[in-house]
Symmetry: C2
Subunit: 300 residues, 2 copies
């Protein structure tokens, strides 16, 4: 990644993404719909780990691509992630009043505006990737392919489909297979899309593209299991329940199905698989190895 | 439009769109999220005038483009129109229990599934336009540009922004200027996008592109005023209220602001402007002239 055109330093990833998001979703104070932009910015600029945009930028860089040209795509996937959180929190869905330590969008702006803010972020993601500037920067073929990958990952065969499976399973104990299928759609698809988009934007060959996909699939799955482990630890610490009892509802988790020990072993195995998948990228992939390991060890 | 590659006969437009929509949104009975696809199909395949897809196909044909290759784009704009109707009917928005003579999506499938069906149709629109097949058919540069135009028209600067302006004005009397601004975003933007997309997909020059845009802008505005006229006639016939009293709420309409006579004259003027805009297309444009006139005279 030396002397690469349009390079962004790893230490600048978060700032670069935040600055670009600010640019793509301005305040628009002069417009009648400025309240809509305010609602979009409230959720989008609130922080978060920005894992998806970082994967886009890092894989793009690893494959020798222009990371500046990948920024609109990195921001687009964060917009889509944020829209899903806003709609997910709505009263008709999870009815969650808090998000990232602040009141949810619909609590602050009302249900109608939150609905529109989600719709707008989803649409603006495509507007951002397909603007004349973005298309010129990335090249039309790569831009169309990357945006297409993201659309598929976010739609009824991906994230939105996972939400529908979740609705179906609500409050019912489910099998390991069902839980995995749901998470592959609900969260896995978008993380895999991020890695793929980075490679596509850099014009990477199929070998690197599928290696990146394997990495992201393993990391995404490990992340999900680790989330369940963290929930249990949180619960047992906070309320004194035995780990894994999950008494609040009968929702199945990886921990309730596998038990905490097997779940931890699964995270370790998946992380190993993720790291091995990085072989084609050589030493340059150390950053992604560290990322996989940090995501896997959040509570240990 | 003779001997043109990928030509679709005008009399086949509706069937071609319906068949393609069926293909792009299959039943997916084998998938866990088949209920989501059912909800998407319920609203999408329910009919409607299909004005937007017809504009895509007709302008594409007029400009010598391949209409078969434009079908995914024609279907995408109908998906986006349908998503907007589903979300618009939700309890937190207009809370409308009926749509096109049938119960609304959320009445049949519940609020959560209706929300997801809307989200999914919006996302699938981009998946459909940006699939490898669609991009190959249209060419990457044209596909990316057409999809970008649609994204902008549907997002916070277009349709979704218009919804936000509508929220802001709810129950308040507004000026002619505000009402027009709202409708330009809420409905005008998507109709203009349809005409532009058809031209872009055919590789039309800027003169034809801006002529198509002027036509669509005038037709869209006329359509909106005519809608208000129809509402008033409907009200006065059905409930015996004097035309224009609109006693149910204090929402401003073109009729309440202009009066019925001036509103009718505005429709006629706009239709004339629309027809004049078609000059660069010559005699081939008779179909679009008829369309403008039919849309303008729905109640006369």
């Amino acid at each position: 990644m030396k002397n690469q055109a349009g390079r962004i330093e790893r230490s600048d990833y978060l700032d670069a993404v935040q600055d670009a998001l600010q640019k793509y979703v301005p305040e628009e104070k002069g417009r009648m719909q400025s309240g809509l932009f305010q609602a979009m910015r409230y959720s989008l600029l609130a922080g978060g780990k920005r894992i998806r945009p970082i994967l886009v930028l890092e894989f793009c860089g690893l494959c020798g691509g222009n990371q500046e040209s990948a920024l609109p795509f990195a921001c687009a996937i964060e917009m889509i992630h944020t829209y899903s959180l806003i709609h997910d929190d709505l009263p008709c869905m999870d009815d969650d009043g808090m998000r990232r330590g602040r009141p949810s969008s619909h609590v602050v702006f009302g249900e109608a505006q939150a609905l529109l803010a989600g719709d707008s972020l989803l649409t603006l993601a495509f507007e951002t990737m397909l603007s004349p500037e973005s298309v010129q920067g990335a090249g039309a073929a790569r831009a169309a392919r990357a945006a297409g990958v993201l659309a598929k990952a976010a739609g009824p065969y991906g994230m939105a489909g996972g939400q529908a499976i979740d609705l179906l399973c609500e409050g019912k104990p489910v099998s390991m297979e069902t839980l995995q299928r749901m998470d592959e759609c609900k969260t896995g698809a978008l993380i895999r899309a991020a890695a793929q988009m980075g490679c596509i934007l850099a014009g990477a060959d199929d070998q690197r593209l599928s290696a990146a996909d394997r990495y992201a699939a393993s990391v995404g799955f490990a992340f999900q299991i680790e989330d369940d482990l963290l929930d249990v630890e949180g619960d047992s610490t906070a309320i004194g329940k035995p780990a894994g009892s999950d008494a609040e509802n009968s929702k199945s988790t990886y921990v309730s199905i596998l038990g905490a020990e097997r779940a931890k072993r699964a995270v370790d195995e998946l992380t190993k698989t993720a790291v091995q998948a990085l072989d084609p990228f050589g030493e340059d992939a150390d950053y992604l190895k560290d990322l996989a390991e940090r995501l896997a060890c959040r509570n240990r």
